[in-house]
């Protein structure tokens, strides 16, 4: 408790509070504008965080991540188009309420549920991070190899519509990791004699290129236009009694979000759809779902915000980012010199407790920013990509250059942006490629270390129960797309 209070005091500084406020405003904005997302928003603020201390920098990113999950629901409710994919399930009941003239009520339910889900996800993070980190301290090379393979396999299979394309994307990311000097021997690999490639491919330009420039190029190319506006969104906010009456749905949604959010690759989109489906299943009058049922907003919104805290558990305790947004957060941690993993709790305890406290403040700030800004956020929906996307490209290039003061990083970001654009156009998800670059060192180094320690015997992976379980689950993830397709079919017939 004393540690938590100390963390709270370190967050209650003008710099940290301002970072949380800025992150929340940018997060709601990134979530609300279709075409942007928490990932794009995080990639864009990466350059801003270079100039900040670790705590305010990470608090800005966390509050952005949290607020973007709520922001997506604004567009889902207002115009029936999810601002970001985790808000997809919110459209099912949110937009019918808007058509009935209850837009303020729907947005109020969404905001309250997001706040409650965020709060419960944070409590889960606080409760689970330390025990998991303690357990992971005993991990050896075989366990870490299994963990890396599990994380990558599950993300490759769950992200995107086509598992084969997810696997190809992951392999391309692993190939990108190979470029440079071998970690164990220093032998140059895939450098083709170029001294520029000896240091390997940098993560941050890849993140900025893939998640900001590629998305912006895609939007510029498609010339998407949005001009719809909505009036009267600020009125009709639900009464506290009605909101408290939604607690069972919020609790169920948060529990589903917390459980699914911990699994790498599963993420907020799946959690919110499962939560909506489950809510309909347990409802006394399931026929009301899809027609503007408040519980159909409360459960998925609680689920996708609960995922944020839950997704931080494997990231901070094991160094495994479970989603594209978590991968960008990992980039932010790396830039700040913070190495997530089992030792984080002992080596940077002060920072971890500050993050705990920051999470709670971020949830409260998200509620305040969301509540006060509803009329403004609904107007954000109408911003044209032709105005927004060029600015995103420019900020991305500036950010990539500012990282090390090296213009070559801006060229690298453009290169990855072009590659990312081509991959997106052909239906390849980008998250597995980034995860491949991040998890490549963990997978290869620990594989080789485990084999060296076992005198070349592969039995070491089968004899180690944790490694074996993780590898089996990684293989089982190939069945996940079938489950997802089944869920999708159920969703299509509400």
């Amino acid at each position: 408790m004393a540690d938590f209070l100390s963390g709270l005091l370190s967050v209650l500084t003008p710099g940290s509070l301002l970072s949380i406020l800025a992150g929340s405003v940018l997060g709601v904005f990134a979530g609300a504008v279709p075409g942007l997302s928490s990932t794009v928003g995080l990639a864009l603020v990466l350059p801003v965080t270079f100039a900040l201390d670790p705590a305010p920098a990470l608090l800005m990113m966390i509050s952005l991540y949290m607020a973007a999950e709520y922001g997506g629901s604004i567009t889902a409710v207002a115009i029936g188009v999810p601002g970001s994919s985790p808000a997809l399930a919110t459209t099912f009941d949110g937009y019918p309420m808007t058509r009935r003239g209850e837009v303020g009520r729907a947005l109020g339910i969404s905001l309250f549920s997001s706040m409650s889900g965020g709060l419960l996800g944070t409590i889960l993070l606080v409760a689970a991070l330390a025990p998991l980190a303690r357990a992971a301290i005993a991990f050896g090379p075989a366990e870490f190899f299994g963990l890396g393979v599990f994380g990558l396999a599950i993300v490759a299979n769950l992200v995107g519509k086509d598992p084969l394309k997810g696997i190809v994307s992951a392999l391309l990311g692993l190939t990108a990791f190979v470029v440079g000097l071998d970690v164990l021997t220093g032998a140059p690999r895939l450098t083709f004699g170029s001294s520029l490639l000896m240091d390997g491919l940098a993560l941050v330009p890849m993140l900025i290129g893939f998640f900001a420039i590629a998305e912006a190029l895609e939007s510029i190319a498609s010339g998407r236009r949005r001009t719809r506006r909505l009036a009267g969104a600020g009125s009709g906010f639900p009464r506290l009694r009605e909101l408290l009456g939604l607690w069972p749905s919020i609790l169920r949604g948060s529990a589903i979000g917390g459980l699914i959010g911990v699994i790498p690759g599963a993420g907020a989109t799946i959690a919110s759809i499962v939560a909506w489906n489950e809510e309909r299943r347990v409802a006394k009058r399931p026929e009301r779902f899809g027609q503007g049922e408040p519980a159909g907003i409360a459960a998925p919104e609680a689920a996708n915000n609960a995922c944020v805290g839950a997704a931080m558990i494997p990231l901070l305790a094991l160094g495994i980012p479970g989603s594209a947004s978590a991968a960008v957060l990992l980039g932010g941690l790396t830039v700040q010199g913070v190495a997530p993993g089992p030792l984080l709790m002992t080596e940077r305890a002060g920072l971890v407790y500050a993050l705990y406290a920051g999470f709670f403040i971020a949830v409260a700030t998200m509620f305040a920013v969301g509540r006060l800004g509803i009329p403004l956020w609904v107007r954000v929906v109408a911003i044209r990509p032709a105005i927004l996307m060029p600015m995103i490209v420019a900020v991305s290039l500036i950010g990539a250059t500012a990282l090390r003061g090296n213009p070559a990083d801006a060229w690298a970001a453009l290169f990855f942006g072009i590659i990312g654009f081509a991959l997106l156009r052909r239906g390849y998800p980008l998250a597995p490629a980034v995860l491949g670059l991040i998890l490549g060192p963990m997978i290869e180094t620990n594989y080789r270390r485990a084999l060296t320690l076992s005198s070349g015997s592969h039995a070491v992976f089968a004899e180690n129960p944790i490694c074996l379980i993780l590898l089996v689950f990684g293989l089982l993830s190939f069945a996940a797309p079938m489950v997802r397709n089944r869920l999708g079919r159920q969703r299509a017939t509400p």
Binding site: P47, V48, F50, A51, L52, K161, D162, L164, I167, V168, L171, L172, L174, T175, V178, D182, L184, T185, A187, R189, L190, F192, I213, L217, E218, S219, I220, A221, S222, G223, P385, A386, I387, M389, P390, M391, V393, A394, V395, L397, I398, T401, A402, G405, P407, A410, W411, L414, G417, I418, F421, R426, E444, Y447, R448, R449, L451, T452, S455, G456
Partner: protein
């Protein structure tokens, strides 16, 4: 006229096979094993090369999916790809010219050009947005955050 439904992805499979071949050829020169007997630097790239080659083959050989045959007007596709290519060239020109042109000139040109490519036609917005954006970048990044810009 619409795109042929379920066309096999020869081009992307070819690109992935070429990358795999490059990895396999280049990794042929790395040490095969560590002095202690463990796998050397060649092991992982070779494994990746083989897996990528397998995926390239699977892309071509697997049964065609209905979803892969999404109908797209070829004219629209060409126009969109052309716009994206012009956008990439404009950004590359900005990066190439950045060392020689002052930021306060280059940045509005970059943003204004991309806005025009993205379909913005209002002269007022094409002039005002890049200027306001550049001013915000100067104030936000340079003055408030002290981030050194090129």
């Amino acid at each position: 006229m619409s795109r042929r439904r379920g066309a096999r992805p020869w081009v992307e499979a070819g690109v992935f096979a070429a990358i795999a071949a490059l990895i396999l050829v280049d990794s042929g020169g790395y040490p095969k094993a560590l002095p202690g007997g463990g796998p050397g630097p060649a092991f992982f790239p070779r494994l990746l090369g083989v897996m990528l080659l397998g995926c390239a083959a699977a892309l071509v050989l697997r049964p065609l999916r209905e979803a892969a045959g999404r109908k797209t007007d070829p004219k629209t596709t060409r126009r969109r790809t052309g716009r994206a290519l012009l956008g990439m060239l404009w950004v590359a020109a900005f990066l190439a010219g950045a060392p020689f042109i002052p930021r306060l000139v280059a940045l509005p040109l970059l943003v204004g050009g991309l806005m025009a490519l993205a379909g913005e036609r209002s002269p007022l917005l094409l002039a005002a947005v890049p200027l306001v954006f550049t001013a915000l970048v100067e104030v936000g990044f340079v003055t408030l955050l002290g981030v050194p810009l090129p």
